[in-house]
Amino acid sequence: MSDIEVRHLSKSFDLKGVKVEALKDINLSIKPGDIYGIIGMSGAGKSTLVRCLNFLERPTEGEVLVGGKDLSTLTEKELRKQRQEIAMIFQHFNLLMQKNVIDNICFPLLLRGEKKADARKRAMELLKLVDLEEKANAYPSQLSGGQKQRVAIARALASDPKILLCDEATSALDPQTTASILALLKDINEKFGITIVIITHQMAVIREICTHVAILNYGVLVEEGEVEEIFNHPKSEAARELILGDISENQWNGETRQKDRVLEDKCLRIVFTENSAFEPVIANMILKFGVPVNILKADTKNVGGIAKGEMILGLPEGHELQEQIKAYMVEKGLEIEEVTQYV
């Protein structure tokens, strides 16, 4: 049985008399222990979707089942109880600014009526887990962004949730801090078996830790599946844009000339899987066809903990030759993808 099941979910808002459809007929199934990424450009409806999973937003149509329970059938009181099992962390951390770290972590426990001493004990354990014991009595304003998010994670874990929703949890953080927060989330997922749902606009986040990904574009779910599969074979336009956008994020800053080449030339994006790394495929291809290819970009990327080679090749002119080269590479077991536009 899946942890979270979303069926035919739609959500529309009424903005000054104009109906805005934020989400259209979304179907998802998230299994226990998954790290499920939901990615899309800003305005794609990601944040609305994640808020439908704990009913902070009520869907206009469709169902959300958490642990088999249809959230729309719950009373207000039952829903509040259910929410204690679905923790959430946010882009801007949303800590209580007037309370210190330990009281922030105690907060969800005190909400459900636990004794202060017990809550404090549990909070100290959690602080240890997120490696911030020495900050127990500090106030959020004295912490860095990464530390605040760690406190928020500890607070989220306090009520022993089965599911953790992360709404752009790393978007306000620098790359190093992002990496450490992602490592912490992965650790939590492995240690406690908590299902994690991650909303992000950064493909790097999805690659780093997600097992599954759903791509959201203008409120429509355009692609869904295992991260590796989508990284190797993006089917939808939106998925390609995101994967190529991922390239530009860390590589092509300022090098527009190179970027332009991708637009002008016939280009291929190649993904090397493990077995294709044994043979010098590109070198052999050049020898075989006797023509030069232009390596516009080469990189290795961490996809779910496995290093994947990624390369963008500018092909020589001539349609027939290009087709032959493509056929050759497919034959050698490479994952290829034509780059028709740069975004």
């Binding site: 902070l56 959430m88 946010f90 949303n94 007037q98 309370k99 909400l111 459900r112 304003s141 009520s159």
Partner: protein
Amino acid sequence: MFSQEVMNMLIKGIGETLYMTLGATIFGYVLGLPMGIIMVTTSKDGIRPNAGVYKVLDVIVNIGRSIPFLILLILLMPLTKAIVGKSYGSTATIVPLVISAAPFIARMVESSLNEVDSGVIEAAKSMGASTMQIITKVMLVEARTSLIVGVTITLGTVLGYSAMAGTIGGGGLGDIAIRYGYYRYQADIMIVTVVLLVVLVQLFQTIGMKLSVRLDKRK
């Protein structure tokens, strides 16, 4: 400088002024605080939106705030008499002061609570907090600095109004200033009462600000 008699009168005046100001502020909050909280919770973006309730309170507050205090003082005389038993003196003045301060306080509380980061409220909701818990454990706690500043401003305003009530026999420093300074042309007594009023306002302001800064953990 003054006779013992005048000194005693001034001391009594200070006592009455403090009594009216603090009394009216406390009862004003008893009425105004819940009103402000209900307005924030029932507003369009509140945690329990209710357009009807909000509108009613909004109108009541606006009416209350637009009636000049002196008029209210006279209008409320029957009510004051019913509650206190007489319509003059400092205890009687507390009634119109409360009625006049409550809407002002409600607005003040509303604006303080609206400053609370909606993200923090959302976080509390996601943890399964009830409306009451969000109000008492999130909004009032997070807004406490601003609420204290509100109390400080209210004290100053109420103190000014209490002096105004002196014109119709309300007691306190305002009463002394009118009776001795204005009707009997004893300018020295008038000046002293005004200085005392200024000192009181200054005192409230300083204490309030110190307290709010000390309790603010945001910096």
